[in-house]
C-alpha cells in the first residue's frame, strides 16, 4: 500500500508544481513506483513541466465523472520505464468540478498500485485545496524565504491541523539564495522552521537551471551535479526514511589552481 502526499503552500508561485515533478522523478529514479496527480484544474502545469502535455487523452474530471477508466487517463513517462505516471488535471472546467469524496476515491484506487501518490495542490485554500487534501495521508508544505509565503504557509499549516492527516505536515523551503541568506538579507532557515513549528523536510537552492530544464519538459533532478537537484534527491531519500544531513548554506570556496595562485597575491 502506497502513501499519498499532498504538496501544498497556500501562496502561488512558490514552486509546488516544480517540487511535485522533481520529488516524483527523484523517487522514480530510486526505483519507486510513483503517480503524480495534478489537481490544479483549469490551470494545469504539471504535464508541461514533465514534458507530457502532448500525450493527454483523458483527465481527472473524466475519471471522476465516469467518462473514462482510471488506467485510461494515466499518462506514462517513458523515460522511467513503468515507474512514473501522471494523472493530468482538466483544462476546460474549474476547481468546483470535483468533490473531495471523488478525489479520495481516485487516490484510494491508486494507492495499492503505487509506492507514492503525489498530489499537486492548487494555490489558495478554497475548494481546490480541500479536494487535494481529502485523500492525502501526509503533506509537504512548500514555502520560500519570503514573509508573504511564510504567512500563507502558516495559514495552511493551521488548516491542516484542523483537519489532521495521518502524518504531521513537513516543511520544504524552496528558492533559497545562498548569498542573500549568508549576508542575512533573507529570512533564515531556522527562523522559518521555528516559526511554523513543523518538521523540516528539506531545503532547495535557487538555481537558473530549474527554469531552463522546466522549459524543456525535463525535471532538474535528471541533472546529477546541480545543487537544486541534490536538494530534491535528498528530500526523496528522507521520504524513504533515510537520514540525510541538510545541505550547507555557505558556498564552497573555489579550490582550483588559479584560485590558489591568486590567493598568494592577496595574502597579507
Amino acid at each position: 500500500m502506497g502513501k499519498a502526499i499532498v504538496i501544498t503552500s497556500g501562496k502561488g508561485g512558490v514552486g509546488k508544481t516544480t517540487t511535485s515533478a522533481n520529488i516524483g522523478t527523484a523517487l522514480a529514479l530510486m526505483g519507486k513506483r510513483v503517480c503524480l496527480m495534478d489537481l490544479d484544474i483549469g490551470l494545469r502545469n504539471l504535464d508541461v513541466v514533465l514534458g507530457l502535455d502532448n500525450r493527454i487523452i483523458y483527465d481527472i474530471v473524466d475519471v471522476a465523472e465516469g467518462r473514462a477508466k482510471l488506467p485510461q487517463a494515466l499518462v506514462k513517462d517513458k523515460r522511467f520505464d513503468d515507474k512514473l505516471y501522471l494523472l493530468p488535471a482538466a483544462q476546460n472546467t474549474d476547481k468546483n468540478a470535483l468533490q473531495p469524496e471523488q478525489v479520495k476515491e481516485i487516490v484510494d484506487e491508486l494507492k495499492p498500485e503505487y509506492d507514492y501518490v503525489l498530489i499537486d495542490c492548487p494555490a489558495g485554500i478554497e475548494q481546490g485545496f480541500m479536494n487535494a487534501v481529502a485523500g492525502a495521508d501526509a503533506a509537504i508544505v512548500v514555502t520560500t524565504p519570503e514573509i508573504s509565503a511564510v504567512r500563507d504557509a502558516d495559514r495552511v499549516v493551521g488548516l491542516l491541523e484542523q483537519h489532521p492527516l495521518t502524518e504531521a505536515p513537513r516543511l520544504l523551503i524552496n528558492r533559497i539564495r545562498r548569498n542573500m541568506m549568508q549576508d542575512g538579507s533573507m529570512m533564515d532557515i531556522d527562523e522559518i522552521t521555528h516559526h511554523l513549528g513543523i518538521e523540516l523536510l528539506g531545503i532547495i537552492f535557487d538555481d537558473d537551471a530549474v527554469i531552463t530544464t522546466s522549459n524543456q519538459g525535463e525535471p532538474i533532478v535528471m541533472q546529477t551535479d546541480n545543487p537544486a537537484s541534490q536538494g530534491y534527491r535528498n528530500v526523496a531519500r528522507r521520504l524513504e526514511g533515510e537520514t540525510v544531513p541538510l545541505m550547507k548554506i555557505e558556498a564552497e570556496a573555489p579550490t582550483g589552481f588559479w584560485h590558489k595562485v591568486s590567493g598568494w597575491f592577496h595574502r597579507g
Binding site: 504567512r151 495559514r155 491541523e161
Partner: protein
C-alpha cells in the same frame, strides 16, 4: 398541606410554591389563597404587595411562569417581583462555570485562525501574525503574541489585557482597539492594556493595577 404558602419576611412577602405538589394543585391552591386575601382586606395592611415567588427545587418552564404571572395579574393588589428557584439547569451551570473560571489555553493560533473563549483566559501559547484570541473576560498572557488579542468581547470595557504586548499587531478591548506600533510598548511582561474613563485604550504597569481597575484588584485579593 397547602401547595402555595404566603410567608412574611423582613423584606416583604415570599410566595412559596411547594415542590412536592403538582403544578395543577399549585394553581388551584394559589387561586384559593389569592381569593381569600382579596376578600379579607385586613389580612394585609399595605396597599400594594410585591411577591417573591420561590419554587424550591423546581424549575418552572416559561409557560408555567406565564400562567403564574397571569393569575397574579388578575389581582391588582399583588405584583410579582421575581420568580426564583434553588436550582439551575446544567447548561446554565456550565455557562456560569465558563464565565467565572480562568481558562488555561496553551496552543498555537496561526495566521487566519480565531480562537473564541468565554471568561478570563490565561494564555500560555503562541499567536502568530494574523491569528486572533477573543474572549468575553480578561486575558492574562504569558505566551508569545504576534497577532491580535481581544478582551471584553463584545462590549465590556471593564476588562483588561496583561502580558507582553510589544510584539502584538493589535490590542482590542470591547469596541476599542489599538494598533501596536513597533516601538510603542516596553518589552515587559507587566504591561496592562485597559480602557480609561474617556473610553480610550491606554497602557499601564502591573503595579498600577489598584488604580486602573480597583474592582479586579480587590477580587483577586489585593488590599
Amino acid at each position: 398541606m397547602q401547595a402555595a404558602v404566603l410567608r412574611g419576611t423582613q423584606n416583604g412577602y415570599d410566595l412559596v410554591l411547594k415542590q412536592t405538589a403538582s403544578f395543577e394543585q399549585i394553581l388551584v391552591d394559589l387561586k384559593a389563597l389569592l381569593e381569600k386575601l382579596k376578600t379579607d382586606p385586613k389580612a394585609l395592611e399595605t396597599t400594594k404587595v410585591s411577591l417573591d415567588v420561590l419554587t424550591e427545587d423546581r424549575l418552572l418552564t416559561a409557560d408555567e411562569k406565564a400562567q403564574i404571572e397571569e393569575m397574579v395579574g388578575n389581582y391588582p393588589r399583588f405584583e410579582i417581583h421575581k420568580i426564583a428557584a434553588n436550582v439551575i439547569t446544567i447548561d446554565d451551570a456550565i455557562q456560569l462555570r465558563e464565565r467565572e473560571n480562568v481558562h488555561l489555553l496553551s496552543k498555537v493560533i496561526r495566521n487566519g485562525q480565531e480562537v473564541v473563549m468565554q471568561g478570563d483566559v490565561l494564555f500560555l501559547g503562541t499567536i502568530h501574525e494574523g491569528g486572533k484570541l477573543r474572549t468575553t473576560g480578561n486575558i492574562f498572557s504569558m505566551g508569545d503574541v504576534s497577532g491580535i488579542l481581544q478582551a471584553g468581547y463584545p462590549d465590556d470595557e471593564s476588562k483588561l489585557i496583561m502580558g507582553n504586548l510589544q510584539t502584538a499587531q493589535q490590542v482590542r478591548i470591547a469596541e476599542q482597539f489599538d494598533i501596536i506600533e513597533s516601538e510603542q510598548l516596553a518589552d515587559s511582561r507587566q504591561t496592562i492594556a485597559y480602557v480609561n474613563d474617556l473610553h480610550v485604550l491606554s497602557y499601564g504597569k502591573l503595579a498600577q493595577l489598584k488604580k486602573i481597575n480597583p474592582k479586579l484588584y480587590n477580587q483577586i485579593g489585593g488590599i
